[in-house]
């Protein structure tokens, strides 16, 4: 393949940063969580690119693991969000600041 591997890595980095922005600027718990998913995907991309760089399938396996983990995380995360919504009738994270200082 002709594309420099760095491009993929940079793409991953950019996506990760975008995901970060999403985490930071959103007030909607679901959006935040989606952004986290974006980050994880960016990481996966990075892993796969490195796998290609090293000529080592291991990287892909790692990405696979991270997908599994992501899946598990999603389950729990969504469950938490649902329970939050049940209790507060909103998933606006800024609403939850009873504890501070």
């Amino acid at each position: 393949m002709r594309t420099p591997i760095a491009y993929f890595l940079l793409l991953g980095g950019i996506l990760f940063s975008l995901g970060t922005v999403g985490v930071l600027v959103n007030r909607n718990a679901l959006r935040i969580f989606m952004s986290v998913e974006l980050q994880l995907n960016a990481v996966n991309l990075t892993l796969v690119s490195f796998a290609r760089l090293h000529n080592d399938v291991g990287g892909q396996v790692l990405a696979f693991f991270s997908m599994v983990v992501a899946a598990a995380e999603v389950v729990v995360g969504l469950a938490i969000i649902v329970s939050i919504y049940r209790r507060r009738r909103t998933i606006d994270v800024d609403a939850a600041r009873e504890m501070r200082w």
Partner: protein
């Protein structure tokens, strides 16, 4: 111009655009859909990177299962209607963006120093996987990463239990204070709470 180059330059922008779209769109549903698009692009990248197996998994697990789950929750909660975007923390966005850019630059610098912007992946990757990518992945998985693989099983059980705990609405004794809080929060839960509270 070789194919993979074309593919990259076609899909990378789309992926970024989709990500940005996810950020800026007003509706959560759209955001989810943008994310699906992004995942798709990434899947394509996997293909370019000779990770056929992951390409499949990406499509099935992410674009398929996970995002559907998301959409399902969105619908369940019906939060797509009420979407307040006003920013109370006025410094939050600028700082966030600046930091993100900084982070990206740092990663970029590391990559540039570490990998080099023009380094090409060595050839002969397919030689390592005579029986195809899936076979190779499985081999590595079950040989070197046997134990992590086992560990993930625990993870999944935990996730299942967690979901169960959080999902089921068990009646719970509440302290006076909470009861007060509940009263404001969710009127319809009150009587259930009260009747079971000794």
């Amino acid at each position: 111009m070789p194919l993979d180059n074309v593919v990259f330059w076609v899909f990378a922008p789309i992926a970024i655009a989709a990500a940005i779209g996810m950020l800026v769109t007003r509706s959560v549903v759209y955001a989810a859909l943008f994310l699906v698009v992004n995942f798709g692009c990434i899947a394509v990248m996997y293909l370019v990177l000779d990770a056929a197996f992951l390409f499949a998994v990406q499509i099935i697990v992410y674009a398929g299962a996970i995002m559907v789950l998301f959409l399902f929750v969105i619908m369940l909660l019906g939060v797509d209607r009420i979407e307040v975007r006003s920013e109370r923390l006025w410094l939050q966005r600028p700082i966030a963006i600046v930091l993100a850019i900084g982070f990206a630059l740092e990663v970029g610098a590391a990559v540039r120093a570490g990998v080099g912007l023009s380094t090409h992946a060595p050839d002969g990757f397919d030689l390592l996987q005579p029986a195809g990518n899936t076979q190779a992945v499985a081999e590595v998985l079950f040989r070197n990463y046997f134990f992590p693989f086992e560990a993930t099983s625990i993870l999944l059980i935990v996730a299942a239990i967690a979901a169960m705990v959080l999902a089921q609405r068990k009646v719970r004794a509440v302290t006076q204070a909470e009861l007060g809080a509940e009263l404001e929060d969710e009127p319809e839960d009150v009587e259930t709470e009260i009747e079971v509270t000794p």
